[in-house]
């Protein structure tokens, strides 16, 4: 055998062997123990549309994170102003990037500016928009600081959600920030999507607020809410016949979920109902002791995400740093609540703006149907090529089979994801990959009709068809690459299989079939081309 042909044959064998090695982990259930040490063990990933699972896109309400940052800053400013003995008429947030401050004495203005410059470098002082310029000030949050807060909110939300999902127990979750204020969450193989969505989406902001018992709730409900107070509701009753019970609360939370060290499910021995017991850290426990000690016989409301859970009367000073959330929970609800409280609150509420759920049975159906149409379509194309081009057709068939092998190996190699449109892409490639061989074989037939020898006909058939094949494939490749750039999930999977398939088909249909042709014509002296 000629040297050149030997090398080419060897090259093909090596490529096929490498492809088989990359494919082995996906095909065999158990790998030998030594395999992972020296060889790849990456399996072909299945997309959510095949495996079943949830795909969520969350939008972090980052504006709210900035607003609550401003609220906290106001508390700090109050403290500083008190220390500097500056009196003011009003100090409150206006909009989502500034704090309005109305002084009583115009000469305090300079001191305020100094304080802000020294202690609140994120803020800048501007004259207010109202008539009395000397008394009205606006403290404006810098753009940079706002951006930073927003970014931190997204990062922290990703971390919190990751924690929650880890505790909930999902294999191979994928949680990552997307764009400026979005988070992509992918959870394969989830059985109960509603629970997972609840766990992810709950802000879980736990607050303890004192009930305002000095002012009348009736008056407040009429619209005269005392300054520093707010009305929140407790919902009671079964779904369908829910009642809302209003509470007049002090707006300022005395303790928040920040101080929690643990939250776990316990069973109430009297009613045999689950509840969530909370433990605070030492600082939280001290605070809790102070507050409860100072407000005996008053009511303390436990507020979760703006909804009153309960408002028990403080019987005695509570020193152990423990509290409990009761309610008519099912075991699962209590467990999920404990998870979100343990993982901590989201820095800002999130909103689900995209949800795609595929049940496991549909995913399995899709795989089966996709594979079935692939196998039947493939067999018919293979039979057809064999009948139509005889020996040459068999070469094209071999090229086709190797092409599918290379696509599968390529998916494993690149760690790409196989989706349902991806399977469709492979099916499409089965139809299109033979195109290169059809072009070549038709050319060879033409050349043979002109009376050329087999060797010359094969030679010019390949060389004349080559340019056309390249042209034709490049256009499809352009479409595939653009799709890869702009597509999401399943469509990306399609673009990947299509791209790998096109490139592989150039190798199998042009290179491999040529080597075999040459072997039979040059080495075995084939006199007549069966085509």
């Amino acid at each position: 055998m000629s040297k050149k042909l030997q090398w080419r044959g060897l090259f093909i064998l090596i490529v096929v062997a490498v492809a088989l090695i990359y494919l082995t982990p996906s095909l065999s259930k158990t790998l030998p123990a030594w395999w992972p040490n020296i060889l790849p063990e990456e399996k072909i990933h299945l997309g959510l549309d095949l495996k079943g699972g949830i795909h969520l896109v969350l939008e972090v309400q980052t504006k709210r994170a900035v607003e609550s940052h401003l609220e906290r800053t106001i508390e700090d400013i109050k403290y500083s102003l008190r220390k500097a003995r500056i009196r003011y008429q009003a100090l409150k947030r206006s909009g989502s990037d500034r704090i309005g401050l109305t002084l009583i004495r115009a000469e305090d203005r300079k001191t305020v500016e100094e304080i802000v410059e020294k202690d609140f470098s994120n803020l800048s002082v501007e004259p207010g928009s109202f008539s009395n310029i000397d008394l009205n000030l606006e403290l404006i949050l810098s753009q940079k600081a706002a951006q930073h807060i927003k970014k931190m909110a997204v990062d922290q939300a990703v971390e919190t959600i990751t924690n929650r999902i880890d505790q909930f127990g999902v294999a191979e979750p994928d949680i990552r920030p997307q764009g400026r204020d979005r988070i992509l969450v992918q959870l394969p193989g989830i059985k109960d999507p509603k629970r997972a969505i609840d766990i992810i989406g709950k802000t879980a902001l736990l607050e303890f607020k004192l009930v305002d018992e000095d002012n009348s709730l009736e008056e407040a409900l009429k619209g005269n809410i005392p300054p520093g107070d707010e009305i929140l509701y407790q919902t009671k009753g079964e779904p369908g016949s829910k009642r809302k019970i209003p509470f007049l609360l002090k707006k300022r939370a005395v303790i928040t979920g920040e101080y929690l060290t643990d939250a776990r499910v316990q069973i109430d021995s009297r009613y045999n109902e689950p509840y969530v017991s909370l433990s605070f850290d030492s600082r939280g426990a001290r605070l809790f002791g102070q507050i409860t000690g100072a407000n005996i016989k008053k009511r303390l409301a436990i507020v979760l995400d703006g909804v009153v859970n309960s408002a028990p009367v403080i019987q005695d000073k509570i020193t152990g740093g423990r509290a409990q959330i009761t309610g008519r929970f099912t075991m699962e609800e209590a467990r999920d609540l404990a998870i979100v409280l343990r993982a901590g609150a989201l820095p800002a509420p999130v909103k689900i703006i995209e949800e795609r759920t595929v049940g496991p049975s549909l995913g399995k159906d899709s795989i089966n149907k996709g594979l079935k149409s692939m196998i039947i379509g493939g067999i018919i194309v293979i039979l057809f090529m064999g009948f139509y081009y005889k020996f040459a057709g068999l070469l094209a068939d071999l090229a086709l089979v190797l092409n599918i092998l290379f696509i599968a190996a390529g998916l494993a190699f690149f760690g790409a994801t196989l989706t349902l449109p991806g399977i469709a892409g492979i099916i499409l490639i089965i139809g299109m990959a033979v195109d290169a061989n059809v072009l070549i074989f038709e050319r060879i037939r033409e050349e043979l009709r002109l009376g050329k020898t087999p060797r010359a006909a094969v030679d010019s058939g390949y060389s004349k068809a080559l340019v056309t094949i390249l042209d034709a494939n490049i256009t499809t490749l352009i479409a595939a690459l653009v799709l890869f750039q702009f597509g999401t999930g399943p469509v990306k999977g399609f673009a990947v299989t299509l791209s790998i398939g096109i490139i592989a088909s150039l190798f199998t249909a042009i290179f491999i079939t040529r080597v075999i042709f040459d072997y039979f014509i040059i080495e075995r002296g084939m006199k007549k081309v069966s085509i």
Binding site: E354, T357, A424, L428, V438, L483
Partner: protein, 359 residues
């Protein structure tokens, strides 16, 4: 074995008036259909809304489902049978986007559970797309279409004509034109329409006749496929856009094979009538054109029949696209080339078809 005899000589070019009429009629029909329907029928991906695929393990009628949805005020949802006949499987589709969508799938599930019993209902798929995301996806898809057009125009004008400078001029003017339009603040749909017109105009004025033929054929295929979708009431989703772009690639693929042959024959037979060269080239490549289309069609037909409901529309798009693409590479792309060549030489005598440097 041969389906097409080597000496076949069908007068395709002679039938170009019939083909022109047919294509024109189909395109007109598509445009009328789209106008009548008020634009393409966008799926949840682009329009926003919620889609729920649900299977019952006994026979259930759409009316019963509607009844079950009445308590949550969703009785005006679109409910259609889905998947294989005989299986009680439905798609429930709400396109309202002014309501809070995030809890909706769960409410639907609970209503169905309480009406039919929890064990009898299986929610197999939920797709919820908020209005913001829908808009994003729409834009993304349109950009994908736009860039696909741009890159392919650059490639074919450069490759067919060996005029890479021309193709760069072309790309630059296209990018410039689109930049101006987007600066004015026109929506992306107009952007694409404008890009299309600029492309065809540029091909015309830069005398890129092969590119012009290929591009006309390409739009022909995509428009008619859209028409087939409108006619059969199918929705345009993300994966359908993927299918459309694949059709673009496929359509060009077929056209390129024919055009390559035309150029090759034209080089050898300068003295022959250009129309004859074209016709001869189409006949020479006919066997290949039909064979490849056939193998591709075989697999796509199986995908269409056996692939299951989720992939059904995708396969349908490919099916129509491949059929139309094969037709257009024979009956649309080459006649456009011929018409242009005739125009340039001032009427009929295509023998004066310009010589091309390097080709």
């Amino acid at each position: 074995m041969q389906f097409i005899k080597p000496d076949i000589n069908i007068n395709f070019i002679g039938q170009r008036k019939i083909a022109l009429f047919l294509s024109g009629a189909l395109i007109l029909l598509t445009i009328l259909l789209l106008l009548f329907r008020g634009g393409p029928n966008y799926g949840v991906d682009f329009a926003g809304g919620i889609l729920i695929q649900v299977r019952f393990n006994h026979q259930v009628t759409p009316g019963e489902i509607r009844e079950a949805l009445r308590p949550i005020g969703m009785e005006d949802s679109i409910i259609q049978a889905f998947g294989e006949k005989g299986k009680s499987e439905y798609l429930i589709r709400v396109s309202k986007t002014n309501i809070d969508l995030s809890g909706l799938s769960n409410e639907v599930k609970q209503s169905l559970n309480s009406m039919f019993g929890e064990t009898n209902v299986e929610v197999r798929r939920v797709e919820m797309v908020g209005p913001k995301v829908g808009k994003d996806l729409r834009e993304k898809a349109l950009f994908a279409i736009f860039y696909a057009i741009l890159f392919m125009v650059i490639y074919i004008s450069g490759r067919f004509e060996y005029k890479w400078t021309m193709s760069i001029i072309m790309a630059a003017s296209l990018a410039f034109g689109v930049y101006i339009i987007s600066a004015i603040g026109m929506s992306i749909i107009w952007l694409i329409a404008a890009a299309l017109l600029i492309t065809i105009g540029l091909c015309w004025s830069l005398r890129l006749e092969y590119a012009l033929g290929a591009i006309v054929a390409l739009f022909h295929d995509v428009i008619i496929t859209m028409g087939a979708f409108a006619l059969t009431n199918r929705e345009i989703t993300l994966s359908i856009v993927a299918a459309l772009l694949t059709i673009v690639g496929y359509s060009l693929n077929d056209t390129i094979v024919v055009f390559d042959r035309i150029r090759e024959n034209y080089r050898r037979q300068r003295n022959r009538d250009f129309a004859e060269v074209i016709n001869h080239s189409i006949n020479e490549t006919l066997s290949r054109t039909l064979l490849t289309s056939m193998t591709t069609l075989i697999v796509v037909v199986f995908l269409f029949i056996l692939g299951g409901g989720v992939i059904h529309d995708f396969a349908f798009a490919l099916l129509v696209g491949i059929l139309v693409g094969t037709y257009s590479s024979i009956y649309v792309a080459s006649p456009v080339l011929l018409i242009w060549a005739g125009q340039v030489s001032g009427g009929g005598d295509a023998r004066t078809h310009r010589r091309r440097k390097g080709s």
